[in-house]
Amino acid sequence: MNFKDLILISLRAIASNGLRSLLTTLGIIIGVSSVIILMSVGQGAVKGVIDELNALGTNLIFIEPGSSEEGGQKGAAGSAITLTREDGEAIIQAQIPDVVYVTSMIDFGAQAITSSNNVGVQVVGTESMYSIMRGLNLSEGRFLDEDDVDKKSLNMVLGHTISEQLFPEDSPVGKNVRLSIAGGRIIFNFRVVGVVSERGAGVGVDDDNAVFIPVSTLQARISFIKNPTGETNVNNIIIQTAEGADEIEIKESVSRVLLDKHKVTSPDFIIESQKDLIGAAGEIANILSLLLGGIAGISLAVGGIGVMNIMLVSVTERTREIGIRRAVGATKGDIIKQFVWEALTLSSMGGIIGIILGMIISYLLDGRFTFDEFTVRTVIQPWSILIAFVVSFGIGLVSGVYPAYRASRLDPILALRNE
């Protein structure tokens, strides 16, 4: 029996039981399409996280204070106040190759007050490079410049949401905003010089709900942020590296500089590159994606059982046909081939329809639904399509073999007598 006959025989058998074949493949269709849909939702979540991390800027390395250790109890990261603005300057002076920008930032909560409004804000004390490194765009005015930092000016840049809350009607540029720090014990008047465009919620600092002021101003005017050595504590030092730089090398160099400066042997700070964070997020999301795919895989297995069930019924119904084929010269192998191929065709057809359906639904789902602040995104993974097809083909094979074996074992004499 040649391959063409095999295909024709199985297509004919499938077509002659149209509705039953359709219902059988439906199990596979639903299984395959849900694998593709759920995996694309999982991958969409991965992409969302990675996009947010990328929105922080590009090629960034973050340095944070390490955890404090008091009485053998390890505190949370950042609980030790070990990072200073001077550390940032030491990194600049070390002239590590491929380090493009270094900036320090302090952030803490405060109240921003105008004559008519009063809102809670995150104050970010930083330098002019911050907007470049984080890729901030300005909708009005300008960002802080080097002059502001040098002269410890009382200029301020507003995040998008803060700007709308404080100045709902007119442009804030040139207006005054009072910052009330530490429950009103320290109050400064700032002049707004710019407004940052909307960025949306992201990882790290929420730029929309922040106000930006020169770090030097904080340093000069607020004594409580100075540590006993007279240096200014910062929450973060951010380094931007050149494109394609060896981040591991840079992290080691930076680490050496800080260890020297802090006169310690083990790091009292944490260095993480953006790529590390993206990698970690990607890993978590991949696990999520596989988990979702696995759940969908269960429905695929159920579909496979459906195929096997129908093939067994089909063998029983076609006992006489098997007898006839055997009488006219079909070997056991020919009968096995016929039934296995029929099961393969059924499940592969289901697989192909399922893939198409899954892709269409994934495409339609993309960005259509939002729960709280989480928008469902879908990214169809080519390998999930390949897996879905291979699995449905495999299911056909597995669920076809046993019924085919049963068919081949029928005694042709008895099969012919079967009414």
């Binding site: 004919r12 006839i324 006219v328 010269g329 079909a330 004499i413 012919l416």
Partner: protein
């Protein structure tokens, strides 16, 4: 051409052993038209199954063209069936979904033969159904269906056609037609045709009648 020597067939069941054939000795020549007659349960169908290589004898030897085939495995028997034998059944045994032409092509599929359609059409022509090529079984009369099944048995150019009660489901007139088609095959194609029947009218069409009863050959005589 066909020779059975001391063939026994015993069916083993849980309760008892059924001795379906007892020491059968039989010679059938090429181009012979033979009937095997007997009551139901006489062993005639068992004999036909063994002759058609659907079954192996329990003991004894079966020679086809001087080679012993009493101990073939399943695949070898399948191949032999496809090459040397054609089968005609009482209930036609056509596949409900196929056209007459496709029914006749069926044995050729398992032989990997070229020009299947042409060969199948020729076989249908031999039984006078060339104008029914595209008809499915439910569009054909009983006699026509039996002629399709005869065409199917002829298409591989067999040495032997085995017909199990070929007229059993037909009225007298159509039964006669079918028998004369078979008779013509013997004459024109030099095929051996073996008809299994319980009707003496059918046996009368053949040249030689073998009477079987209780698993034994009771008589074996040439018809006038």
């Amino acid at each position: 051409m066909i020779q059975l020597k001391n063939v026994d067939k015993i069916y083993k069941t849980e309760a008892e052993n059924v001795h379906a054939l007892k020491s059968i000795n039989l010679d059938i020549n090429q181009g012979e038209f033979v009937s095997i007659m007997g009551q139901s349960g006489s062993g005639k169908t068992t004999l036909m199954n063994i002759l058609g290589c659907l079954d192996n004898p329990t003991s004894g030897d079966y020679f086809i063209q001087d080679s012993n085939v009493s101990d073939l495995n399943d695949d070898q028997r399948s191949a032999l069936r496809g090459l040397l034998f054609g089968f005609v059944f009482q209930s036609y045994n056509l596949l409900p979904r196929l056209t007459a032409l496709e029914q006749v092509e069926l044995p050729l599929i398992y032989q990997n033969v070229e020009d299947r359609r042409l060969k199948a059409a020729k076989a249908l022509d031999m039984v006078g159904l060339i104008d029914r090529i595209d008809f499915k079984p439910n569009q054909l009369s009983g006699g026509q269906q039996q002629r399709v099944s005869i065409a199917r048995s002829l298409v591989v150019k067999p040495k032997v056609v085995l017909a199990d009660e070929p007229t059993g489901a037909l009225d007298i007139k159509t039964g006669k037609e079918v028998m004369s088609i078979l008779k013509n095959l013997v004459k024109k194609e030099k095929i051996s045709v073996i008809v299994v029947t319980h009707e003496s009218e059918v046996a009368d069409y053949t040249d030689r009648t073998i009477l079987i009863s209780d698993g034994e050959i009771k008589s074996d005589k040439l018809n006038k």
